[in-house]
């Protein structure tokens, strides 16, 4: 993905509100042995790479800086992953991305730390020399991030079906609809039966025409009764299936 496309995607995402399950906060990088302009370039490349991740809703730098300033300049220096994870939660973020931009040994590099609000923490690095184009820096940042991002996504993907319970809902819903339809057909069949038995099926004509009319009303009643029985049976089966799958998917 080109940097401009990434930027567009980022802007689109920024305009939409982020929820706590997808919000990612990228803390302005620390820097060592590197001018602030170079460090900002590397931070921006990382920011674009985070924004391009499928399940990330990246908070804008301005919002992050404003919130950090509001909470006292910078985040407290945590000594362990548990503390950093608590910081992510306090910021209402699912993940917190930190980085140190380095300019040691004549090379530029970034050391990244990704902390999940659930406690997981992973680290990655990438190099991007001064001669590296912005596109290459983006690609290296993306590659580095994917190494640490993938396991978190996989974990989430496995857990999602367990929590959503889509199948039992569908089965029970369909079963309910079938039962309602079955009852409706049953009532219609009973009405037809009543008319046929009391008023001769409300057939006005006499003779052969009456017999045809009566037979047709009788057939209609039978069809309605048969349909009702089938729907009630199917509805019962679907409801039973929904109940079984609901119990099966209990955590």
């Amino acid at each position: 993905m080109s940097p401009s496309a990434s930027l567009l995607l980022m802007l689109l995402r920024v305009s939409a509100p982020c929820d706590a399950q997808t919000r990612v906060v990228l803390v302005p990088f620390e820097r060592l042995a590197l001018p602030s302009e170079d460090a900002r370039e590397l931070e921006d490349a990382t920011r674009r790479a985070v924004a391009a991740l499928p399940d990330a809703c990246l908070e804008s730098r301005e919002d992050t800086v404003a919130r950090l300033r509001g909470s006292g300049a910078s985040l407290a220096a945590c000594g362990d992953a548990e503390c950093r994870s608590a910081q992510a939660s306090a910021l209402g973020a699912r993940r917190l991305v930190r980085g140190v931009a380095l300019g040691v040994g004549g090379k530029r590099s970034v050391a990244l730390t990704v902390t999940d609000a659930k406690g997981t923490e992973t680290r990655a690095q990438f190099e991007a020399s001064a001669a590296t184009t912005p596109g290459e820096a983006d690609a290296r940042a993306r590659q580095a991030l994917q190494q640490v991002w993938s396991p978190l996504v996989t974990t989430q993907a496995v857990r999602e079906p367990q929590g959503s319970r889509v199948l039992p809902k569908v089965l029970i819903g369909a079963g309910g609809v079938a039962l309602i339809a079955g009852v409706s057909f049953g009532l219609a069949a009973r009405s037809t039966e009543s008319k046929v038995s009391r008023n001769g099926g409300e057939c006005a004509a006499a003779g052969e025409a009456f017999a045809d009319c009566f037979a047709s009303r009788l057939d209609a009643g039978r069809r309605q009764a048969r349909t009702s029985n089938v729907l009630l049976g199917v509805g019962a089966l679907l409801g039973l299936g929904g109940a079984v799958s609901f119990i099966w998917e209990l955590p």
Partner: protein, 419 residues
Amino acid sequence: MRTPSHRTLALGVLLLAGTAASAAPEQVHYALIVASNTGTESSQAPLRYADDDGARYYELFAPRSREVVLLSVLDADTQALHPGLAAKTRAPTHAALWDALSRLNGRMAADRAKGAVPVLSFVFVGHGKRGAAGEGSVSLLDGPLTRTELYARVLAPSKASFLQLIVDACDSYFFVHSRGALPVGPAYADAVKGLLGNRELERFPQVGVVLSTSSEQESHEWSAIRSGVFSHMVRSALSGAGDVNGDGKVDYAELRAFVAAASQGMDDVRGQSRVFIQPPALDRAFALTNLGDAASLGYLLVPTGLEGRLWVEDARGIRVVELHKERERPLVVSLPVGRGYYLRTRGREASFAITRASEVVDAGGLRWNEATVAARGAVQDALRDKLFSVPFGPRFYRGYMASLGITPSSDEADAVLVP
């Protein structure tokens, strides 16, 4: 069509001129290390670790220098710890010193002719004394190197654009193995005057000085680090631990503050450091080392949040870097390539390796285990407990410089976060 092309040409010329004007000339580093365990007088007890210090200064400067000369006689233990190094050394004699200086001056003159900025680090580790006439000297194998010779044959003819003079004379060592008082030793101020002479130094504005001398006339080495303590502090600072503002450079003010912090906990007067650190008058912000320069070194990133007294030992058991880090800032230290290391703190250690140049190891991702190395004997307790007992970082640096009435030349300590 003609006008735009002229404009483009003019813009190109301006850009080229601007680039040429803004590009700093290349610094080329050399180091000449003289390390001698022996004194020139029979009353001077031999040192144990001056040769070790010489070997470690060699390892410190070699990856970032075009040429490093080591004049020392390495003892058996030191040769075993530094295989192959003995073959590169020459004895610390006057002849070897003049020969090395002559060759290095030739190379530095050529560098200057090409527009480069040659920087020479001249390091002496060994015995020092003041003669009857008040002239200071340091001991070479075949006799004293006097102050007169230092000025006349080392500083005056030097072709270096900047010369960094690091002197760790025997009486500057902190004390662990007391060998008794040396016969006559200079007091702090006298030693500075005796060896250098402040007025004479003013004639060499390109020379910066890092000098240690203690108030007591006893030699202080620490067997736990197989080194003189002052040299251990200097090497730690120059490896990056002294970079308080995160700009990758360690200047003279930072080194001075680092040494002050590292030795502040030593309340025993015998262990207190007496240092004289003065930047080159030509450029008081001149850096003794720059981690940003290309070098065949690896790097250990100690991230924000990791704090306390930390030290890095290599697989040989040599303590390479030591520091007491403040929690609120990251720092990076340089380490030689191709070795295994242990990052240690009290009771815990984490192993790692530097396998290639420019590799950065993030200490935040290391797996810590219970330390397997036991503390040494009780005689080491004072240094083990009190050295590096004060955290060094922006807070200490600001307070220390304020106490000296000095305004730091660059205060980027608050700007570690990218604006």
